[in-house]
């Protein structure tokens, strides 16, 4: 994509968002190792360009639906970092008042409509939101994030069909990070190409380098513009890689699930480093300015940790009161 067409400010924001996710997640990894965070966390390190590029093409009133690997989506869509950290610490001040933990975060004001830890579970919710937008004649779009594991669930195909049938403004974003828990793609999909599945439902789809934030943004923008203008759904396959193991801070190398060569190959394709190169080449940011942003982000994460640690745990009282809305 022609980078000159984008405002510098916009690109710097993309950079800062990816960095925020990276630094946040690495801190979380440390905190898990220190046993300060207990709830199971599925880290997003390595995939930052997907959430960042997709959400950069969205408005505040667009909705996103997330999965067990939720932190990156939340931060990229503008969720409050302090509340996220507090949720990982399961505190009363967290996004879900400590009831949800890492896998269940939401911020309705920001259009972050929740995350399901049931593989594929939130895909039809995005379709439903898109139907709601259509009925109410709003020009918002809904995004469903999911991994290639979810492509194995029937509900994925049912959702594609229904969305295409009703021409709904929903973008299906598959983050193909190469693993579904302990299983590589070759063990779960007969045909590993995901965007082509759109063809069977007479809808548009595209494959994109999920480690290139500018390309992810560009493709999402096309999808979103088309969905907003009533052209129906879009399936985006983002090729990427998760650096850490399926869950927690480790790398799953010790367990013999993947090779260190493979991991190193993908770490060389780091989405953040790639953007740094582009920015330097195009004189958007100097090394020094990038250092400055890093410090700022690190500070923000430290603040969030402090906030979380100082926050109260949920009171041990009757939780039944939380069960139904009283109106």
């Amino acid at each position: 994509m022609d980078i000159k067409r984008l405002p510098q400010e916009f690109i710097i924001n993309l950079y800062e968002t990816m960095l925020k996710i990276r630094v946040f997640e690495e801190k979380v990894a440390d905190l898990i190792l220190k046993k300060e965070i207990i709830c199971p966390c599925h880290l997003y390190i390595g995939q930052e360009a997907v959430a960042t590029g997709v959400c950069a093409a969205l408005r505040k009133d667009d909705y996103i639906f997330s999965t067990h690997r939720s932190h990156g989506h939340y931060l990229a869509k503008g969720g409050d970092m302090k509340k996220l950290m507090a949720e990982l610490f399961c505190r009363e001040t967290g996004t879900s008042k400590g009831r949800g933990g890492s896998m269940h975060i939401a911020s309705i004001d920001m259009g972050i409509m929740g995350s399901s830890a049931i593989v594929g579970g939130s895909i039809p919710l995005a379709v439903g939101a898109a139907l709601g937008f259509k009925i109410q004649k709003k020009d918002s779009v809904a995004v469903a994030f999911f991994g290639e594991g979810a492509v194995c669930e029937g509900v994925f195909y049912e959702s594609l069909n229904f969305a295409a049938l009703k021409k709904l403004p929903v973008i299906f974003v598959c983050e193909k990070n190469h693993y579904s828990t302990h299983m590589p793609i070759s063990k779960i999909l007969a045909d590993p190409s995901i965007y082509k599945k759109a063809l069977s439902f007479a809808m548009d789809g595209a494959l994109v380098d999920g480690n290139d934030v500018l390309k992810v943004y560009e493709k999402t923008k096309i999808a979103v513009d088309s969905a907003r203008s009533g052209e129906g759904p879009y399936l985006l396959e983002c090729l990427t890689y998760r650096w850490r193991g399926h869950v927690g801070p480790n790398y799953d190398l010790d367990k013999g699930l993947r090779s260190s060569e493979e991991l190193e190959y993908w770490m060389k394709k780091c989405p953040i480093k790639s953007l740094e190169k582009i920015m330097v080449m195009n004189s958007i940011l100097s090394e020094k300015e990038m250092e400055f942003i890093k410090l700022k982000v690190e500070n923000e994460v430290e603040e969030a940790i402090k906030f979380a640690k100082e926050s109260p745990k949920p009171p041990q009282t009757e939780d039944e009161l939380m069960l139904y809305v009283f109106k």
Partner: protein
């Protein structure tokens, strides 16, 4: 006799069943994974190969149906869910298909299938990774449900499940995995539908199953120190349930505490209470029965909330004391 862990007992049983009976096939998420189902499936893939040890994509609805289809060809599938929470996707195949097939076609085709359903809760895993929904399956005609509380029973019941001609839900609680007990090496079976006394006493009957049996035994020991003697019934089977055993005990004690690791409303404890209310037993009770269950709330993440969410020994002891005061 040897002492082995509960999870070892399961692993050994699977090895032996698959060795002995070529019709046995293991299918389900994580059966080749180093962590997914604890160590219960270690060594199976290398010994029996990918045809009989199938780690499918995340496609629970489809692959549960596949297992039913396998059973129609004379195979004996064991389908494992690493968490009960994931069974909802497969609910249609379990409830509409596996459970109904034999009856619906006038007894022509039965479904000899074991559905190994793992409860994996605690550790701030929250509402979609914590559920104990055995009662939902017990509600469905055509299914049987067993829930062992120790490695000895796990082995014997798993053997019975695989040999049964019907779909049986084998409820398996990961909180049991590291507990040790005596388990014979050779295969044996424990009849489905028979409970057992874990402790004897004349004052109160505690009815429990699965992991909650341990909390009940601990509670009973503490009650004994306080001069209250408790019968602890380990149901072992949830459906069919051993009501004879319950009657035997309650006729003596006339006081009942029902302990269940599931929710209260329409749960296992509700069914037991209803059965007691329908029987002669109710006429002679010295006190209304009391249930110790989860509150009717989804599992919270926060460990401070988990502490009050999951009933433990203390709650059972105080309940027993309360019922003795009536």
């Amino acid at each position: 006799m040897r002492e082995v862990t509960y999870s070892y007992a399961i692993n050994e049983t699977l090895h032996q069943l698959m060795q002995k009976d070529e019709r046995v096939v293991l299918i389900g998420q994580g059966v080749t994974s180093p962590w997914y189902v604890g160590t219960t499936t270690v060594g199976l893939i290398s010994r029996f190969g990918e045809e009989r040890v199938i780690d499918p994509p995340v496609s629970e609805n489809c692959t549960t149906g596949v297992a039913i289809g396998l059973a129609f060809t004379g195979m004996r599938p064991i389908y494992v869910f690493p968490r009960m929470d994931f069974m909802y996707y497969a609910m249609d195949q379990i409830a509409n298909h596996a459970a109904n097939w034999y009856f619906m076609f006038g007894g022509q085709l039965n479904v000899p299938m074991t559905i190994w359903a793992i409860i994996n809760r605690g550790g701030e895993q929250a509402a979609q990774h914590s559920q104990a929904i055995h009662a939902i399956f017990a509600h469905i005609p055509g299914l049987k449900v067993v829930a062992p509380s120790n490695g000895y029973d796990a082995k014997g019941l798993l053997v019975s499940c695989v040999n049964d001609g019907n779909p049986v839900i084998f409820v398996d609680d990961r909180w049991l995995y590291n507990l040790k007990c005596n388990v014979p090496e050779e295969l044996y079976s424990i009849p489905i539908g028979k409970g057992i006394f874990r402790k004897r006493g004349d004052d109160v009957t505690i009815i429990a199953s699965s992991y909650m049996v341990h909390e009940a035994i601990l509670a009973a020991e503490e009650c004994e120190e306080r001069g209250i003697n408790v019968d602890v019934i380990d149901l072992r089977s949830i459906k069919p349930i051993d009501f004879d055993l319950i009657s035997q005990s309650v006729k003596r004690t006339k006081r009942i505490v029902i302990v269940d690791g599931g929710w209260k409303t329409c749960g296992l404890s509700a069914e037991i209470a209803a059965k007691i209310a329908e029987s002669e037993l109710i006429k002679n009770l010295k006190a209304p029965l009391i249930r110790v269950t989860l509150p009717d709330v989804p599992a919270p993440a926060s460990s401070s909330l988990e502490q009050i969410y999951y009933p433990r020994k203390e709650k059972i002891v105080s309940t027993v004391q309360k019922i003795m005061e009536v």
